[in-house]
Symmetry: C2
Subunit: 292 residues, 2 copies
């Protein structure tokens, strides 16, 4: 699995570089800032999920690569803006200086804006093997998942509820929007672009929700149990900032049990989909058991 | 003309409100922040340009309204982010407090992000009277014009060259990218969506460039000659921040002459296009002679 995964990641990186290289790079610092954050060692979980979902339908991943890369750009923009002093105020991300620490706040804001915009331009790079209708459906889905009713709304809630007592309902809202929405959209996009039918899309929808939850709960757990060195970002920050997290509300033990339960449900759904999805299951298992 | 214009603006505002009202508005402050800036009294020049270009082809403006509204969202997001303390640090815009002054920096950044994302979702609202192919062409055009090779690149250059001696070439770059690119894209989008042919698109392209220049030079002139009250934003700010502007490089008199020359060229191009474009010419004349 890890070998297959690293091959996919290499391919994604190669394509990201292709989309983010320009003939005229003026003023150069903004182009540097964009690539700095995109190539800061991300795990590429979202584009990999999209590609693996497509592969389950026998799709040539080359055809859906622009959408996979665009989603990674949206993810990267969200990290750059989340790290800003006015937001989470983080100095390190993936073991490297955050964008505003490296290039200053103005350029960091603009680098995020540039990436979000470039994502939509990149989606349009899909060639004639993807129908215009499917592509527009996916653009609508991803913009909805990234915007005020998705990722941006989740980040807003996360900031507004800092240092406050948070109910389980609000925790669910923050997680499902801030992280879950784009992960789910990645999986759904792969399924839509590859011709999944209505019934299958329902299953992928719930599967996407579960993967988002597994990812976020594991993230919360690692913030408590791991070290800054291993994580590449400041460990223990959630508790310090009194962030709404699973361990804070359920405790570590119960949080771990929830992950296992969700993993089991994910397996059952994949079984129902009746497609060659072993690689996806392996990836989700990796997400649940990762150490950073 | 002004009556026609105010009718169009009302229609745009009605549609913007429709797109920016949600069933579930949680957390409410981010939804409020988004509408606060969109309905802060903008002149809607970009969507009006798009609609009038479409009308010259007999297009029912209802069909292209989602694209017109999406472009206004992109314009508004760019103002919110430009006003941030790390960027131009403006307290007032259109006579009202800027977003970060009203809602705080974090929410202002997120409101901008939400609007940029929502623009692309809104584009997808075009119904079957606009072909998917044309819509995708326009999405690509607008994302290119708004991104690192357009508006974002222009804003980056504007900030990087603050307090520096700027050549005419750099001034041209900043203007054509920061303001010109989206104005041109508005006009071109209207033409593409309404079925303009290749030859006409070339003419609209140059026309769009000219309108962008007229808009920006007039803006630069007003910053010198107008008052804060009339402008609704701090007058004289460009000189104070040693911004690259036309009056700074050419002087007021020559800048005014350039505007008149461009206006003449705009007229000539419209004559060549041989469509009913009197409303557009009136609008461009208004842009060149406006007082705020």
């Amino acid at each position: 699995m890890l070998k297959k995964l690293s091959k996919l990641i290499k391919l994604i990186n190669k394509n990201l570089l292709k989309y983010l290289k320009y003939k005229n790079e003026f003023p150069s610092v903004i182009f540097k800032a964009v690539r700095y954050s995109v190539f800061a060692g991300g795990k590429r979980i979202r584009p990999v999920l999209l590609l693996l979902t497509s592969k389950a339908y026998g799709m040539n991943i080359k055809y859906v690569m622009p959408v996979a890369c665009g989603i990674e750009m949206i993810h990267t923009y969200s990290l750059i803006h989340d790290d800003l002093p006015a937001m989470d105020n983080d100095d390190y991300r993936r073991g490297k200086l955050t964008s505003h620490k490296k290039f200053g706040e103005a350029i960091a804001i603009l680098a995020g804006d540039a990436l979000l915009t470039k994502a939509f331009e990149t989606f349009c790079e899909c060639n004639r093997f993807i129908s215009d209708e499917k592509l527009l459906k996916v653009i609508k889905l991803i913009s909805d998942a990234s915007g005020i009713n998705g990722m941006v709304g989740g980040q807003a809630a996360d900031i507004l509820f800092e240092n406050k007592n948070v109910s389980k309902k609000t925790l669910d809202f923050i997680h499902s929007h801030k992280t879950g929405a784009l992960i789910k959209a990645s999986i759904l996009s792969g399924a839509i672009l590859s011709g999944a039918d209505k019934n299958e899309l329902k299953l992928w929808d719930r599967f996407g929700e579960i993967v988002g939850l597994i990812f976020q709960i594991t993230d919360d757990i690692l913030d408590v149990t791991s070290t800054t060195k291993k994580l590449g970002k400041t460990a223990g920050k959630d508790a310090k900032q009194k962030k709404a997290t699973f361990p804070a509300i359920y405790g570590l033990e119960k949080s771990r049990k929830i992950v296992l339960k969700l993993l089991l449900e994910a397996k059952k759904i994949l079984y129902k989909i009746k497609r060659p999805t072993r690689d996806i299951l392996n990836l989700v298992t990796y997400i649940a058991t990762r150490e950073n």
